[in-house]
């Protein structure tokens, strides 16, 4: 049992936003997905106020021990999400976290208000860090900008607000502290690192979005350092992610100060990765005892 912002979860393993579509996965795997659901809480893909079709393909590039994505936040928009996706996500066997991104504070406020009042929703995650959308980079990289955004939306819902941090910042710990000061209930990190690939033939950018975000084991050591730095800078819980592919690695993030972890890219390799990692984490904890105090090493 894990307690996160007053919500009790059967365990500490979430999915990273945008790395698991429970609705599509149900089409591929059927009810077995719900019977053996991989995560202890489900985080939706980031939604925006207006519908978005996302970036033109190609959207993917494989890198050493990782990948670059340039998806561009395709989603049905607030209305479409509330009407068609939310009811189905509400029937998942675990608590629901909805990720939202606004291109202005007002938009963000509108999203938080509308999503926050729905009973299916346990928490909200503010994506101020998506490297594929200009605003994300600006808001999430700057402590003051982040504080203003959180302050603006704080009043719109009583539900826990998680701020998702970008690693593409000089000082993520300062951004986290600013979010905490403005009323965030938790922070999650890392989002993807900005990256690029060129077409082997033409030497031009491979990705339709020209640049994208790097994820996977390649970024794990970078993510772990940022999680440790952030955990030592804030009192609120930290959700750690970035390249986690087994329980031993998840235990490292918890030892670095995270209360929960999220699995992203590893789910692409194994749809049951979340469940497997939760079990491995359990064994690790039993064998060496997961540090409960934050032995945050920075």
């Amino acid at each position: 049992m894990t307690e996160l912002c007053g919500v009790s979860l059967r365990g500490p393993v979430l999915n990273g936003s945008g790395t698991f579509d429970a609705i599509a996965a149900r089409r591929a795997f059927g009810d077995a997905l719900l019977e053996r659901f991989p995560f202890d809480a489900f985080v939706s893909k980031t939604i925006t106020l207006e519908p978005r079709q996302g970036n033109p393909p190609p959207r993917l590039w494989e890198t050493p021990a990782g990948m670059i994505n340039s998806i561009g936040l395709p989603n049905k928009g607030l209305e479409g999400f509330l009407a068609s996706d939310l009811p189905e996500l509400g029937r998942l066997p675990v608590p629901l976290v909805v990720s939202v991104m606004g291109f202005s504070r007002e938009e963000l406020a509108q999203l938080v208000a509308a999503v926050g009042e729905r009973d299916e929703v346990s928490m909200l995650e503010l994506n101020v860090s998506c490297p594929n959308v200009e605003t994300g980079l600006i808001m999430g990289a700057d402590p003051a900008e982040t504080a203003l955004a959180v302050e603006r939306v704080r009043g719109e819902t009583a539900k826990p607000l998680v701020v998702k941090l970008t690693p593409n910042a000089t000082d993520p710990a300062a951004v986290a502290a600013a979010a905490e000061g403005a009323g965030a209930n938790a922070v999650s990190l890392v989002n993807t690192l900005k990256g690029m690939a060129l077409d082997p033939q033409s030497g031009e950018p491979w990705l339709g979005g020209r640049t994208g975000g790097v994820s996977g084991p390649a970024i794990r050591a970078i993510a772990l350092e940022q999680v440790a730095a952030v955990a030592s800078a804030v009192e609120i819980p930290v959700i750690g992610m970035g390249g986690i592919s087994n329980g031993r690695q998840a235990a490292d993030f918890i030892a670095a100060g995270a209360t929960a972890v999220a699995i992203g890219t590893e789910s692409f390799r194994d749809p049951a990765a979340g469940r497997r990692i939760a079990a491995e984490l359990n064994d690790v904890s039993l064998s060496i005892g997961t540090p409960t105090t934050r032995s945050t090493p920075v």
Binding site: G18, I23, A25, P57, R59, E62, P64, P74, F268, R269
Partner: protein, 267 residues
């Protein structure tokens, strides 16, 4: 008609390689899947990776699993023997082609939506370009009285034609085997002879586009098995989209087989 989709178990499992056979320029990998469904549908695919040493190849790849249509599935007492036809063109396919019997093949699948049955009274024509022949092998076994048209780059590639039953008509770019022609030219001739046909095609984009255009002109119903870069294969990453008349579709959950009339172009 319910969509031709057999559900996959919601986790990666390990099948055991029973054979790796070279067929000209291609390679057939057969593995025993003890815990997956025994009835994948032609056109569905699996995400594959080797259990050991998946990584450390050229450019320090592969990392992600790779998508492969199954070419054949034979039910065995304790599972199913899955065969995949592949061409080694990069770090992932090279590693898979280097598999040896008894090594583990990690897989997720079957995934996606396969080929739909032909409309009543329509004669099925199967059109394959290169490695695109793979999903047509199991499809041919399910349909009766099919015409099979295959196009290959060279004689080494054309050896794969021998995997089909009956007498597939073969075209090669260099004329080393069958006619020196494009497989789409063979299709045009067939359709001229008998417009009451329906087309099932898989192959490189340029070939699929030629097939699409031909069938569109003649109002011949066609199903195309497309490809795109995939990271997950089950709708998680939104990476595999192709533009359709209904906007971007994730090929892994809404395809890989699409009705030709849903595409303005394949290119």
């Amino acid at each position: 008609m319910s969509e031709p989709r057999t559900l996959a178990p919601p986790e990666r499992r390990v099948a055991v390689v029973s054979g790796v056979e070279r067929i000209g320029a291609y390679c057939v990998i057969t593995a025993h899947d003890g815990s997956g469904p025994r009835n994948p549908r032609p056109g569905q695919f699996y995400m594959l990776a080797t259990e050991e040493c998946w990584g450390g190849g050229s450019d320090e790849r592969p990392y992600l699993p790779r998508a492969f249509s199954y070419a054949r599935a034979y039910v065995e007492p304790d599972g199913v023997a899955l065969s995949f036809l592949l061409e080694a063109i990069g770090p992932g396919t090279e590693r898979l082609a280097a598999l040896r019997p008894d090594e583990g093949l990690a897989l997720v699948g079957p995934l996606g939506i396969g080929f739909r049955a032909p409309p009543d009274g329509f004669r099925p024509i199967l059109v394959g370009g290169g490695i695109g022949a793979a999903p047509l092998l199991c499809l041919q076994e399910e349909l009766d009285e099919t015409t099979v048209l295959l196009g290959f780059r060279s004689a080494a590639h054309a050896q794969a034609a021998a995997l089909f039953s009956g007498e597939p008509k073969v075209a090669t770019d260099d004329g080393s085997v069958g006619q020196q022609a494009l497989v789409s030219e063979l299709l045009a001739t067939e359709l001229d002879a008998d417009p009451g046909a329906t087309v099932y095609a898989c192959g490189p984009p340029a070939m699929l586009e030629a097939v699409r255009a031909l069938c569109a002109e003649r109002d011949v119903p066609a199903q195309l098995a497309l490809e795109s870069g995939m990271a997950c294969g089950f709708g998680a990453c939104f990476g595999c989209v192709v533009p359709t008349t209904d906007g971007y579709l994730r090929l892994c959950v809404d395809g890989p087989v699409l009705d030709a009339d849903r595409l303005e172009t394949v290119l």
